[in-house]
Every structure is written in structure tokens, then in C-alpha cells.
């Protein structure tokens, strides 16, 4: 259900940028913290994309690891589990530098002329 909501956001964003053309690829960066199950997201994307210009588009997922940086001592690390306290100095002032993404990087669309020819 989580993935279904996210898939709707992905399709809506892609359509908004598609200029009315057929979308063939949607590239998405997904941070580890977003707790997305890739297969589930692909499945939901396929459903939500039906009867839109995104129908049949390939969803390219790039998973982004969780990376953290301590604002007190500057230590940067990639935790194995959800542990957000600095392992070096114990500080709670930690910035997430990667792993929160749910970011559409790019889409690929069929050029209009080709699309017309294909239909014709």
C-alpha cells in the first residue's frame, strides 16, 4: 500500500514533465530510509501507469545507501542498521547525507514524430 501511494506520485510527476509524449523510461533514485520494496514498487507502477502516457514504461530504480554525518565531529559513516547516533563521539546531531531520496532523475519520452509514425 505504501508503494502504491509512492507509485502514484512517480507517475504523476513523470506525466507532468512528459509534455504529452509517450514515456518509455522513468528513472528513480530510492533511498534506503524510504523502506521501499523494489518489486512491489514496480508492480504498483505498472498498475498506476495503465491508461496513461506512462503505460508500459520501464521503471529504473537506483537504490541509495544510508549515509550519515556527525555535525559535531564531522565523522561520516554508513550504518548497518537504523542507528543514528555518532559512533565516534556519541552525538545526536547527525545529518542524513544520503538515503532519503525518492527522486525522479529523468524520464525518456518518444519523440513526437516517431510516435505519430508508429501510430500511423
Amino acid at each position: 500500500m505504501h508503494e502504491l501511494s509512492l507509485a502514484s506520485g512517480v507517475v504523476d510527476t513523470a506525466l507532468r514533465h512528459s509534455g504529452g509524449q509517450t514515456v518509455t523510461v522513468v528513472s528513480l533514485r530510492v533511498g534506503h530510509l524510504r523502506q521501499v520494496v523494489p518489486d512491489s514498487l514496480r508492480f504498483c507502477f505498472e498498475i498506476v501507469a495503465r491508461d496513461t502516457a506512462c503505460e508500459g514504461a520501464e521503471l529504473r530504480l537506483t537504490e541509495v545507501d544510508l549515509t550519515l554525518e556527525c555535525r559535531d565531529c564531522g565523522h561520516g559513516w554508513s550504518p548497518r542498521g537504523p542507528a543514528f547516533r555518532c559512533p565516534d563521539c556519541g552525538s545526536a546531531a547527525v545529518t542524513v547525507t544520503g538515503g532519503e531520496e525518492l527522486q525522479i532523475e529523468y524520464i525518456e519520452v518518444e519523440d513526437k514524430e516517431d510516435a505519430c509514425t508508429a501510430r500511423g
Partner: protein, 246 residues
């Protein structure tokens, strides 16, 4: 076939965030502070609110509740007996019933909210530990209820939710003698996921911690008075959604 690549670099939930900002502008215009209250189903959100809002809050803070549910008005009916404004918002019209409130749903309810008559709006989200954390609705603050019956491991399993909140209410502590749960372990897990997050141990049954929650709610509402540009008009504008997602 020729393909053109269109570079976007945009958060997939930007559309939701844009509407959340619009909600925020409306709340700001009426000087209403908004709390997004989340939890798993059955953690005790409604019962805690019943206890906390049974008497008027200190400082004359006037509270209203927006009750989000997939279906029905059972929770809203319970709260209505407190003689505070309660608005029901059902998500059942979505894909078999949305499992969370999003900004657009809250937007659809704004006209039916008595914003001119309240200082603090508590939005009781749909019970769910995943989706509500993803969707901003225009709130000032987010809090969650985690009951001890859910086990020690929930912060580790749902870090998105536990990190999204600035207050975690550890509820049903009256049941601790009957459970195998190790409370220290739960608190340690919470600290690992969201170091230093404020927490209150509560029992809606015995009333433990409810006074602290009431104080926290009053202080949340009075935060607005200390923000530049407020009161005396709308805030400095919808430039950012705050608090930030993490």
C-alpha cells in the same frame, strides 16, 4: 524510434508537498498550530486525546480535532462528547480506502474546519506506521503514539515514522507488569533511531503522563506566538515545509 531524455530531479511527492504548503498558508492565516498525530492502529491515539482534552488546556488554548479514518465516525463520535469541534475525514473513497491522510485530503476538509475558533488543530491520522510518515499535510509538528504492546522492536522496523516525529508517546504503560516487553530496550531502540527525541510515558487508562502531554500541547500552540511575523498576520510565507522531513 528516437527517445529524448528529460532531466527532472524532483521528489516524487512534490505535488503533495505543494498542497501541504497551501494548507499551511491557510492554517497560518488563522494562526492555527497543527499537530499530525500518528500511530499503528489501536495504539491509543483517540483514547489519549479523550483523556488529554477532557478539560480545557492551560493558557486558554482552544483545540479542534480532524479525525482521519478509512471508514466510519466511531472515533469522532467519542471525541464529540468532549464538546470540542471534531471534523471527520474518511479516506474510503480512494483505492479501497487510503491508508493515510495526504495533503489533498486535508485540503478538502479545510472549509469544514472551524479555524477561526481554534488555536490548535490535532489531525489524528489513519492508523498505520508507514504511509502517514511519507505525506506532509501542512502540519507544524508531528507526534506519534507507540504502545508497549507493540513490542520493543518497532523503532527499528519503522525508522521512517519514528524519525519523522518530535514527540513519541509510549502508551499503555499500565500493562507493563503483564507483558514480557523490556521498556529500557524499547527506549534504547528509540534513541538509536531518533537520538534525543522527546518522549512521554503515558497510560490513557490510569492517566499517567497525560498532564505532561497536556503541557506539551499547550506549549506547541504557544510556539506560534514566538515565531517572527506571528501573531499579527500570516507567517513569513510558504517558502518551506517545516519541520523538514527528517
Amino acid at each position: 524510434m528516437h527517445r529524448t531524455r528529460v532531466r527532472i530531479v524532483e521528489d516524487a511527492l512534490d505535488a503533495n508537498n505543494t498542497i501541504a504548503r497551501a494548507n499551511r498558508v491557510d492554517f497560518d492565516r488563522h494562526e492555527v498550530t497543527v499537530l499530525n498525530l500518528m500511530s499503528a492502529p489501536g495504539a491509543g491515539k483517540t483514547t489519549l486525546l479523550e483523556r488529554a482534552l477532557a478539560q480545557p488546556l492551560d493558557g486558554g488554548t482552544r483545540v479542534g480535532v480532524l479525525e482521519g479514518d478509512v471508514q466510519g465516525s466511531l472515533d469522532a463520535d467519542r471525541l464529540a462528547s468532549l464538546h470540542i469541534p471534531v471534523t471527520q475525514l474518511n479516506t474510503g473513497n480512494g483505492f479501497g480506502g487510503e491508508c493515510h491522510l495526504d495533503a489533498n485530503m486535508v485540503r478538502s476538509a479545510i472549509d469544514s474546519l472551524p479555524l477561526a475558533e481554534i488555536d490548535l488543530l490535532v489531525i489524528e491520522n489513519v492508523g498505520n506506521l508507514v504511509c502517514p510518515a511519507e505525506f506532509r499535510v501542512g502540519e507544524d509538528a508531528r507526534a506519534m503514539v507507540c504502545s508497549v504492546t507493540e513490542g520493543e522492536d518497532k523503532p527499528l522496523k519503522y525508522p521512517l515514522m519514528f524519525r519523522a516525529c518530535e514527540l513519541v508517546l509510549i502508551n499503555k504503560i499500565d500493562l507493563l507488569p503483564h507483558l514480557d516487553i523490556d521498556l529500557d530496550k524499547l527506549l534504547n531502540h528509540l534513541d538509536a533511531v531518533n537520538p534525543g527525541v522527546q518522549r512521554i510515558l503515558t497510560s490513557a487508562k490510569t492517566g499517567e503522563g497525560v498532564a505532561q502531554l497536556r503541557t506539551w500541547l499547550s506549549e506547541l500552540a504557544s510556539r506560534r506566538a514566538h515565531q517572527p511575523g506571528v501573531p499579527g498576520g500570516p507567517s513569513n510565507g510558504p517558502t518551506a515545509l517545516h519541520p523538514p522531513i527528517f
